[in-house]
Symmetry: D2
Subunit: 357 residues, 4 copies
């Protein structure tokens, strides 16, 4: 119970994810934003748009730069974006020529979208690694218990016995497909979105493509031929992906809560949660949380798609909505994969399974 | 103003789509369901699971079959699915052997999911054709007016002039990407979902894969190695795609409503809507509707992802939710593409564009 | 499986509601719109704004008026609203003086919002009557079985035995509160929204308040001192109410599906749905559908609140979104109350209830 | 750009709210939870359920208690709720008799729901005070400029001139109604939800009502005759209220962004946000953020209503979802009221307004 479930001192270990949280700190954001400015300066020096010495000065100044967070927050409250205040601060660490060369032809959205893409790409790779681990853990369980017979349930009624391998497959296959999907959407979701003030790369003169390609390569992002400032389909698509991940695990969680019901007892769960009133209980907390996280992301997904209605060349309203939604969806996917990885080894097919029907 | 905006005698031409509506009639559904049963019987005859004569009798009986819709509705109200009632009716048109062979090893969900996939695949192809036409129409407009200068607006303020080609690209590129995405998701969204009572294809004995492959081929659907009864990621992904289509067009519509404001006058729109109180007005009705449809699908998308929490081997609750959502999202995408195709040729860059700033 | 689950020949009896559907036909809409014009003419005659004879002619002409639906649909596709086309048709049934007097000082939104409010108020009264019946049915069940002991479940685990009356109360009390809430929101949700072209009632001269009061009284709507054209909080609030109704019944449905699980058997359900593959099953179809309808309305509710961002004096985009959402939410609440009323008498506390724990 | 926009060092001043944040700290939560335990002990001593000395010892121990947050977080990760770990810690500060008396007849949900209700009630009062201030500020503006003439816009087109007072009313009236609504929903939203392990207050013997009444009075919450553990309509209703607040301000923000467009210039905004690329711009950042926050809450609202499907006597999945959603909706309403209060004094009707039409 806190404004943010993810960073809360009490709830954070239930609903948050320490590893993914590192991608959403102020420091990580600032590092990525300055990383963009450095890469931009390098590319512009190579393209002859600024002096090489300026680019070197920028790179050097980043090393020792210590941002004034309060001033960044104040600037963001005024400007709606942190970039003007960040640049003002950073320019004070530069000589006049480098200060002038900094951010040449660029705009706040270039910086913020690049930082967003870099960090969300990192998040996606962490999630991908965990999906791989989950697939392995479930597959291993299937190898062990796949031939056991459990009761299938359709429409909440016992149906017919099936091999446990069927359940393993229903939990595993969507995760495998999510790994494939990540590769499909990467060029759109993790593209460098760079275009300058109004998205036409006019500030880079004739060298727009070269600059964009070099910056993309330096930052490990995909090159896109246009600015994508106002085309947010790659972002909405990433949100859909995050919801597919939590949705697949929500189905797994729901199945577990049903299977470990005392009356069903198809699965057993070691180390369930305790109750303040009923010491005999073993609550399937992790499995329930998987359902919660799935419903949370399915909820937020709607807002990510509302943000597709991004008016004109840059929408403050729609863009800011992305900032409120995507990091949370990423954290929810982090918490879900973390929770599922914790849950699988504690689950087992019960020695005696029900044979209703 | 009607329970369904899509089929309504008054609103239907504003918000509906005649071509796509054909995919969602009772007749289209019944045809597809019987198409599945026919293909299944053929595949099972080939696999030696039923007599060839039974398959032929089934195919022949489909020809003359005239369903009793009232009885189907009654059966659906009772069973939650139309299939038991449909089969009961259809069996009366068959000799006892064929009646017994019909639906061998299958279950209601096989039938309904197949019909759903067949029709939604058809819808996606109509939408793809329209996206292609929209890309052409916008590209043509860009060839004509791309070099004109218009004012770019960021954060709802005039920014700097840009070539009109920038706007054309921002409207066109997401549509091109949606066409690509359709191909990526097709094997998952338009897969044959067949598995029998509890999804293990046990009713087809050793011939499960062969039967599934043959039915998929006959119906033009993608083959999947498992039943996918309870793995709904392909469906949720299709919903995301439909929302990406309407979202891209919603951005276009929003831009148009802003550009045709009297005070802005960057674009002109021929044939706007009239007012009962103010005859001088030319309302950008189509452009507004594009925004409406984008927000509608972004809303519904959440429900499609909630349905990922599909418990056990078949969830009546989650499955039925898909039926309430996907067809509507498809219709909204139909209405959006239809409206955009109508809108583009009526738009023009104004002779004198504003030069604020 | 159809674009609209509510009106579909096959699904309509599962997911629709015949009684509520009558509020959403084209005929009901046209009747209400002409009812508004008649009441307006009467009020304006009384206020001296038009001739009494014109008002009488308008009232008389409504009797024999037979609308051309195709022309209305065409007009709506062009104008975004049916009113201009409706008035054009209806004026042909009037002499020139009455034709001129018709709709004096009014605008399309007055007409459409009035029709919407009248019909949704009617819907709310039907729902209220059904809520009352549900409360009665559940209370009666409680009187009969309230002292029986059943197992309480917390976090999906058997907890401790409780009197069945606890469950009855948890299902009933939210319905009682929904009846109270309907009365609270009625003055805002079912207000007459009348203001003329730009919402200032300027077209009624000094007699704006008198006209608005008389029209509201004639139509059985609540009087509001301002136009409310662009203030949609009463509509969003009604949407929330409809979702509270379906949500309360969704909880009931979910509890039923859990209690009638074969392994739990706390409740029995007479007349469950049949399966095409497993004749032994009795599926709790109605209970599942209650969950579906709750999730459907919780999904749509988001769109109703998105429509609060209703720009300027009238937003085509936000207003049209209400038309796509509210009637559907009303129908879902209709289907849920109808389904619950059908379900309760078929439920019973099982003779031997489980005593886990 | 952070997992939580509200608490972030950079974004917090744009999207957060310092005053409301105090309600969502771990300290505020723990204080409220221990406040509940103290009030419960007092009430139980009065009712003769525990010794008066035990109640006094509990009250005294709260004074000096310093929670171990890391242990609370660990316990929450295990149990899904903080209460078992909190009680374990707190009992170490009590003598054995008091330790035994603590939490008598209660359960985790009693504690957490009470803390939630206390803090959200406090939030609602802060918001109410701000709504009052906003109504005053807008009314004052209306007194000053209400007779000025501005252009009304319908369907994004200039319509007819209106008095500026019309706009003031459209922005103000929904806020007035939100204040009224708060009073209507308070008895349901800010009720004490107390029931013990399975919600029947059995742990309080015959004294359940007396204990509940006394605890409610001590905590300033409304008394409810039943536990409300699994009836979440009061929570969902509060979520709707929060979205009505942000929605009303989102409409205001949208109107401002449209009115301050350079080409429209109906309103002027002092102190707009700056741009890193275009120093001439004055971006209406606050107005845009109001739209963002409205869309954010409209998005989250869906999840709050999904949580109505709260299975059996306590749903871990649905309950946890509330924790992820309600505090964020409250913070968004805080940020919106704060932003609007900042915005109004900076707005003015432009000296020369457009007179299109």
């Amino acid at each position: 119970m806190t404004a943010s479930p993810f960073d809360h001192p009490i709830l954070g270990r239930l609903l948050g994810d320490e590893e993914l949280a590192t991608y959403f700190t102020a420091a990580a954001d600032i590092d990525a934003m300055l990383g963009f400015e450095t890469a931009l300066a390098d590319a512009e020096a190579k393209a002859g748009l600024i002096e090489r010495s300026a680019a070197e000065a920028i790179r050097a100044a980043v090393e020792g730069f210590s941002p004034d967070l309060a001033a960044l927050a104040e600037g963001t409250a005024r400007d709606g974006v942190a970039v003007p205040a960040l640049l003002a601060q950073f320019r004070r660490a530069l000589d006049p020529d480098a200060a002038k060369a900094l951010h040449t032809g660029s705009t706040s959205q270039d910086v913020i979208d690049a930082s967003f893409a870099m960090r969300l790409q990192g998040v996606s790779l962490v999630l991908d690694r965990r999906l791989e681990a989950l697939v392995s853990a479930l597959t291993e369980w299937g190898l062990k218990d796949g031939d056991r017979t459990v009761m299938a349930h359709t429409r909440m009624q016992a149906a017919k016995p099936v091999r446990f391998a069927r359940k393993i497959a229903a939990w595993t296959d969507p995760l495998v497909r999510c790994r494939l999907r990540r590769e499909e959407i990467a060029p759109r979701a993790f593209a460098l979105r760079i275009g300058g003030a109004v998205g036409d790369r006019a500030g880079f003169g004739e060298r727009g493509e070269a600059v964009a390609r070099d910056v993309a390569q330096a930052l490990g992002l995909h090159y896109a031929p246009t600015a994508l400032h106002s085309e947010r389909d790659g972002i909405a698509e990433l949100a859909s992906w995050l919801s597919l991940v939590t949705g697949a695990l929500g189905k797994f969680g729901e199945d577990v809560t049903l299977a470990v019901q005392n009356e069903v007892g198809e699965l057993t769960l070691e180390g369930g949660g305790g109750s303040s009133a009923m010491p005999h209980k073993q609550n399937p907390v992790g499995a329930e949380v998987l359902v919660t996280l799935a419903r949370f992301n399915a909820t937020l997904l709607s807002g990510a798609h509302q943000a597709l209605v991004h008016e004109n060349e840059r929408s403050g309203a729609a863009w800011t909505l992305e900032w409120m939604i995507l990091p949370q969806m990423a954290m929810a996917a982090g918490a879900a994969t973390r929770t599922a990885l914790d849950l699988v080894p504690r689950l087992a097919v019960a020695e005696t399974t029900s044979d209703v029907g």
